[in-house]
Subunit: 178 residues, 2 copies
DNA sequence: ACGACCATGTAAACAGTTACATGATTTA
DNA sequence: TAAATCATGTAACTGTTTACATGGTCGT
């Protein structure tokens, strides 16, 4: 039940059409809650039917026409309720860790290549986050909004840092094993 | 497509019945790939139909009777293939980060309580992992199997360490904001 | 023999992914 | 005017979660 709330947040930050939302999910929001355009259109339809958002006037809803959506008071209230509600952390689900555990039983052939590939991907993501930090959070600016958003970005940076370190360590272990 | 492989791994480590598997998923495997008993029974049925596992003889398959499953050569081969195959890391999906981003727009009321609650849960999980490390990986033992499994446990420990640190930092920020 | 729990399962709802369809606008 | 791509959508499939059902075993 998080996709509608991700969309409400994005629309409150800035009213958008379906495609604009899709683009923004590819960039910022998607860094911790990804969604495809199909999911987004479906959810926009539901949210509109429920009266949480509405299409801005002046646009005819023909196919291939942009529709801009904005959040209604009901939607904002629902988002506030959800944000403040108590929710349990989801247990971790990670395929690479599962594969390593499997490798302990069926052998490590072939997995080292993918560890190296993942390392490169995580290093790339880390570099991207650090670029964003330099660009959007220069020292000095610290409105409450800035600090909250910076906190979220820090989580992304620290997570990618963890993965690069762990993968580096894992690859070293493999070098010693063989 | 990871649940069947998680089950194959668990069954290779030790042939088990559905309920035993469920218990083991609650403990070790579930730390990075959780599953409910419904998922497990359904998947066991599929894997048996595909000839990747079989019920050990000497058990009549009546309702309420334990059925022990073991992995067949086909299943082991499939697991080895999957383990070695190239797979992209799944993008992060984290509700707490999403909620913080929403809080930047609709206000932070109520979320701090849940940050503190999550901190306690992550500290508890971290303590559990460190207990397991002390018990199962004393210094000295280092067969290839041990090293791989220890590597996986290290990932769990480092991830929980990250969360406790990040949450602590987040709570400090909130203290300064208000 | 009754209640608690063990063990296996079914059904339905919900969420996410992949593949495809269709009209509108831009550009060569 | 044809091709590319923009923008919105549908359909089918896969995977996950939640709620419920059913028979067996064990302790009192």
């Amino acid at each position: 039940m998080s996709l509608p709330h991700a969309i409400l947040t994005a629309l409150l930050e800035k009213p958008s059409s379906g495609l604009e939302l899709t683009r923004r999910f590819d960039r910022s929001i998607g860094y911790f809650w990804s969604a495809t355009h199909q999911q987004i259109y479906r959810e926009l339809g539901k949210l509109e039917a429920e009266g949480q958002i509405r299409a801005l006037a002046s646009e005819q809803p023909a196919r291939g026409q942009k529709k801009q959506y904005e959040v209604l008071p009901t939607g904002r209230a629902e988002l506030a309720r959800w944000t403040a509600s108590s929710q349990d952390p989801k247990p971790l689900r990670d395929t690479m860790l599962l594969r390593l555990r499997a490798a302990a039983v069926v052998g490590t052939d072939g997995i080292e290549t993918d560890l190296r590939r993942h390392l490169v991907l995580h290093q790339r993501q880390l570099a991207e986050y650090e670029e964003i930090e330099k660009r959007d959070f220069p020292p000095g600016r610290d409105s409450p909004q800035d600090r909250l958003q910076h906190l979220v970005l820090r989580a992304g940076i620290d997570l990618e840092t963890f993965w690069t370190q762990w993968l580096t360590h894992a690859i070293e272990e493999f070098a010693e094993l063989s």
